[in-house]
Symmetry: C2
Subunit: 377 residues, 2 copies
């Protein structure tokens, strides 16, 4: 099948771009002398994970227990669930581990840390736990100098069915940076903060073999990761318009796109309607604050080339996307009904989440494979 | 199972609220003397459709061909696909109709109208087509006085394998209204515009048996629908915080919520983290311009009551929701890790789309059923 023949909207993955992105990040990890534990929250695909882990330890990161179960079924046995654990999820974790996989958990909470050992014992499982450290993102995690850090470390280390595995941070605030120098500074702050937390645990006589840092922008731009043992970027596999805007990649590195068909044209206002709306593109507006705001996606031609004028998806409703030139650009009569376009996403993780599968191409318009995704919880 | 026992995040549907919402809209349709053709784009569930069509003709509206196929499998034979058709989708429409269902289509394009008859003949099917009329929404459709309207009507009526079924409008701009009087004015403009388009077709000697109008706000507030034959609201089944803000409903009419568990607490900044983030709640920001902006959702207690202080999901990342009191409200120490809350969605259609099923309750905390949904395309 060719791209001109498949049903739209559809999620297209260009394997050549994917592999180039993976190779670049693998090289980064090697140069920085850390392991690469790719975050599968973006791709959610065993086929992509196979390519992304090649040449590294084989460990991966997941964002949901459903991902963990899916990847365990596909042979992955070394996983980190990089979202704070609640005790009510431990039965499912124990069931997963009873099948042979290991799923390291995360917490920043004294009470959870104090009770996780007894729950693990009751469930007949052994848990590895990382302590979440916040280096300025303000989402979750403890400050590296927090008093709770050592208290949590002691609670975990003292529990019979728990191993304290180390510390983990996610520099999500790197997404707020607009220049490479800013990302470099966040990356160094993340490195220093995570290492500081690890050293405090060690100084208290606690083990801390793992120092794990995250985020694609900091992985791309970190100058040095001394003291860090692994990094967990995810969106680098696909990239997106937002990552291009903050200089994590170029537009030509964006590996996924939404294939859409034009359903009507409104010449008077220079607009066309495509069959990819808010569900097919997501309502993520990551580029709203970026240097160039592309609305709900950047519209490109069928070869992901630049034969079209600059066109954005300027409005969406559930199944309608309105395509127009950005305000102030020269007038455009609209795209002809029946013609097809590809839309580069604002935020790959959210756009991909609406689809059950990738239609895989290799640069051209021939669909060479369909790769399933795992969604939901 | 009780709500305290199921995995989170989960989508909860309160059947009592649903049935009250359905009864209210059924009564509206009867009072306005129009048929109710409920739009299933929000609920995407055969169980909900069964309840929503009770007492009406049994016809429904769908937003994707996948919905059409799903509802056809569940016995629905009279459907309108209320998104502009592209010719490349006709083979799938023909396949669906060959199983016995009828799926009326929509267009506003002269070229599509000119070619749809020959495609229908080639596919061995007969198509019913509505002409889309734009009453100020600016998404898709022709102005009621457009020259193309009659041209499209003639093209459709003149094609051997096509029946011109009528006109259809969607007053999506009613979502921009902030007061009931404004919605009433939009509803009257929509009625008058759709009827005007129908009369122009009839004056040209063309058939126009159906005059179909849409949108929950206008369905709730229309004073009169003289000349209209059917209405197609959808979100009224569930309602959401945005619909409450524009006075389509009360908060106590919101029938769906996301059940979430607190994973960590940050007392210093009065924030808690829940396991429902941007994917579980959607990134829809419908209330951004509403009188009260609830961020990514309004947090309520397990009974959907008001025992908690006013709390919003103020930030999200993929699997994290940050819960806090709105800016300027009194300080709040945060919710305890392990506790559970329900989140009323900004926009029901988008939040529900992340889930494969509803956990159904009847006012209380007992899950009495699981109803599947159909997502994707």
């Amino acid at each position: 099948m060719k791209l001109s023949q498949i049903e739209t909207p559809a999620l297209i993955l260009d394997r050549r771009r994917l592999e180039a992105n993976l190779a670049r990040m693998s090289e980064r990890a090697r140069a920085l002398e850390v392991d690469l534990r790719p975050h599968m929250k973006t791709a959610k695909s065993a086929e992509v994970a196979r390519l992304a882990t090649a040449g590294h330890s084989g460990g991966i990161t997941v964002s949901t227990l459903k991902e963990a179960e899916y990847f365990a079924e596909h042979g992955y046995t070394d996983m980190v669930y990089a979202v704070g654990i609640s005790l009510d999820k431990l039965a499912r974790v124990a069931a997963l581990q009873s099948q042979g996989a290991r799923l390291a958990l995360l917490t920043d909470d004294v009470e959870v840390a104090g009770r996780i050992g007894e729950r693990a014992a009751a469930l007949g499982t052994h848990l590895e736990v990382l302590i979440e450290v916040d280096i300025g993102d303000g989402r979750a995690g403890l400050a590296p100098d927090s008093e709770d850090l050592v208290e949590i470390g002691r609670a975990l280390d003292g529990a019979a069915n728990v191993t304290l595995r180390g510390v983990l941070s996610h520099a999500g605030h790197s997404y707020g940076c607009r220049r490479v120098a800013e990302v470099e500074a966040v990356a160094e702050a993340e490195r220093a903060g995570a290492v500081r937390a690890a050293e405090r645990l060690r100084a208290a006589g606690l083990p801390c073999p793992v120092v794990s840092v995250g985020s694609t922008p900091t992985a791309v731009h970190a100058r040095d990761l001394a003291g860090v043992t692994e990094m967990r970027p995810g969106v680098y596999m696909f990239n997106d318009v937002f990552q291009a805007e903050i200089e994590s990649c170029a537009h030509s590195d964006i590996a996924i796109s939404v294939l859409a068909t034009v359903t009507s044209r409104h010449r008077g206002r220079g607009e066309s309607v495509i069959d990819a709306g808010g569900l097919a593109l997501s309502k993520d507006r990551s580029t709203a604050e970026a240097p160039r705001d592309v609305g709900y996606g950047l519209v490109v031609d069928m070869a992901c080339g630049d034969s079209l004028p600059e066109l954005h998806v300027v409005r969406v409703s559930q199944e309608h996307g309105i395509v127009a030139a950005p305000a102030g650009e020269p007038g455009f009569a609209g795209l002809a009904p029946g013609s097809r376009v590809r839309v580069l996403p604002n935020h790959a993780c959210f756009t991909a989440a609406a689809y059950e599968r990738y239609h895989v191409v290799e640069g051209g318009d021939q669909v060479v494979a369909e790769w399933p995704r795992v969604n939901g919880w």
